[in-house]
């Protein structure tokens, strides 16, 4: 499963020059600043934008090459737009059935009742789009896109116009869909938090050019990318719920580098989860600290050191088990502790966030 993209576009105010191949499974996030060409690239994939010089191939089907151009309605892509896109002349059920009716029976992979249940829109079926909140509209739009049984689901910043509460609810639903469905998704966003929660693969697009492409953790911990200038730079690592401790209201998760303590979760033991560790929450020590309130201390090896945007700080890339973790520490600490690539030390993690609802 793959999506090959070669798109070259030059306009007065911006250019796009992309040549890459995406793994068409799980969630691929296209991340970058606004105006960097993310939406244009997504529109090219959907066939909504016709660029002169482009080669777009999905699995073994060529969607665009030279003068060959498969129109949008024959590409079997689902598309969730940034803002509300429900048909005003139909109610919610009508919108959903619009999608369902256009898929031949034998190609249907999502049932109407399934889509309604997944997105929790049972109570809205008779409503018109003007009667819905922004979050409800996006949920209906996602259900509608799923009902067209797409082979590829494209999401263009679907959360950007929503309030925080709707955002986190919809993120949880998207996570659930990612885990339940085998539909590959391409998720455009300029919010790093959303990307960390959802993506398996990350494509950094900067000023119309691919800056980096690869598995999420690998890209997040690359210290040569401007991603680290973001205040919430960090990484995500895979973990499994190991044990609950109701007495202290804590849960323990297993990672490749050892056990971590997180706030009590209502998830079953054995469940795969993602934990997020921000660089600014990791401090370093040469010996395992005793008499500290920090409960998450893992053995680590220094992989590389790099400058931070703040001249007083440095970014230290660590190997913890088979995962990579970033630490943001002061330049003085690096000198005093004699931290160099290859040395072994202990990562003290002040805060670990479990990325599940």
């Amino acid at each position: 499963m793959s999506l090959a993209l070669r798109v070259a576009l030059r306009r007065a105010d911006f250019s796009l020059d992309v040549n890459c191949e995406l793994r068409a499974s799980g969630v691929t996030a296209i991340f970058g600043r606004s105006g960097g060409g993310k939406t244009t690239l997504l529109r090219c994939i959907a066939g909504l934008e016709r660029v002169g010089h482009a080669h777009i191939r999905f699995n073994d089907r060529v969607w665009q090459d030279g003068s060959q151009f498969v129109p949008t309605h024959r590409r079997s892509v689902g598309y969730v737009f940034q803002e509300s896109s429900l048909f005003a002349h139909l109610d919610v059920r009508g919108n959903l059935e619009f999608a369902l009716r256009r898929v031949p029976e034998e190609q249907r992979r999502v049932r109407l009742d399934e889509a309604i249940a997944w997105l929790g829109i049972q109570g809205l079926l008779r409503h018109r789009s003007t009667q819905l909140s922004g979050g409800e509209r996006q949920r209906v739009a996602i259900a509608r896109a799923l009902l067209s049984s797409p082979q590829l689901l494209l999401l263009d910043e679907p959360l950007s116009s929503l309030d925080e509460a709707s955002k986190s609810q919809l993120l949880a639903q998207l996570e659930h869909l990612r885990d339940q469905l085998s539909i590959p998704m391409i998720y455009v966003s300029h919010a790093l938090g959303e990307v960390m929660r959802l993506a398996d693969q990350l494509l950094l697009l900067e000023a119309g050019r691919v800056q980096a492409l690869g598995p999420l953790q690998q890209i997040l911990t690359r210290t040569d990318l401007p991603l680290h200038h973001e205040l919430d730079a960090g990484t995500v690592i895979d973990a499994i719920i190991e044990e609950h401790d109701p007495a202290y209201h804590l849960s323990y998760v297993a990672t490749s580098g050892g056990r971590l303590t997180v706030a009590m979760q209502s998830l079953p033991v054995g469940r795969h989860v993602r934990v997020r560790i921000d660089a600014r929450d990791v401090s370093l020590a040469l010996q395992p600290a005793v008499g500290t309130s920090i409960s998450n201390i893992l053995a680590a090896r220094v992989l590389e050191l790099s400058a931070d945007r703040d001249p007083a700080q440095m970014l230290v890339k660590l190997e913890v088990g088979s995962d990579a973790v970033l630490a943001r520490v002061t330049r003085r600490s690096v000198a005093q502790l004699g931290i160099v690539p290859g040395c072994s030390l202990y990562a003290q993690i002040k805060s670990v966030a479990l990325m599940e609802p």
Binding site: A46, L48, T72, H73, R74, Y79, F81, F87, A88, H89
Partner: protein, 227 residues
């Protein structure tokens, strides 16, 4: 009211209904095309379509008469095909009315199609709807308000038409004499009572139709959108 007046009124109604139906059918594709265009061709077509708004009806009627007459190319083509000339006949009235009312149908339809915007059609395309499917399932229902406006305006405008029908139709009672021409005849012969009655009926019909248009516009307009 005399039976001749009733016949004239009936001819007007027939003319208005037929003109409206034919124009809706023919102008929908034209308006759809115009709504998608942003070219020089559109400027020219827009101007041509709007011409009957400013042209004196007599000018339009005069040229049509020349065209349909025995020396005009339309007249010659029809003669060669052994078809009757539309001049001074009901079919001529229909042709004239269609030209005269053209902008009243094209403009509301075009504006309604334009107001739909690109987004809804793009969404439909991603939901596997073909261009034809998108036109009928998205564009037509979303433009229905424009279509109703177009139909009512066209009907009312054709009912009240005078100059063109007089030029082309020639005021033949029972065939091409419409209500508006009958009123003119009554006034000419100083029969103000008969002119009053027929005028009042036309006034009532036109006012009623416009009331329908504006109440539909008010009801169908989604909350918060400008008129």
């Amino acid at each position: 009211m005399t039976s001749a007046d009733l016949v004239a009124l009936w001819i007007s109604c027939q003319l208005a209904i037929l003109t409206t139906l034919l124009l809706l059918l023919l102008c929908t594709p034209l308006a759809w095309w115009l709504a998608q265009q942003d070219s020089r061709a559109r400027v020219i077509i827009d101007a041509l379509v709007s011409l009957p708004l400013v042209l004196p009806p007599t000018v339009l009627g005069f040229y049509l008469l020349i065209l349909m007459g025995p020396a005009g190319w339309l007249g010659r083509v029809l003669h060669a095909l052994h078809l009757p000339s539309p001049a001074f006949s009901f079919s001529g009235l229909v042709i004239g009315s269609m030209l005269y009312s053209l902008p009243f149908v094209v403009q509301p339809l075009r504006d309604a199609f334009q107001a739909i915007g690109r987004r809804a059609l793009e969404v439909a395309a991603t939901l596997r709807a073909s261009p034809m499917d998108r036109f009928f399932s998205i564009a037509v229902p979303l433009a229905s308000r424009g279509a109703i406006t177009a139909a009512v305006l066209c009907f009312a405008h054709t009912m009240g038409e005078f100059g063109v029908v007089l030029m082309i139709g020639g005021n033949i009672p029972g065939r091409t004499q419409t209500a508006s021409i009958a009123i003119f005849n009554h006034a000419e012969s100083l029969d103000y009572g008969a002119a009053h009655r027929l005028s009042a009926i036309l006034l009532a019909i036109c006012l009623l139709l416009l009331l329908i248009v504006y109440s539909i516009n008010r009801r169908l307009r989604p909350a918060g959108t400008p008129v």
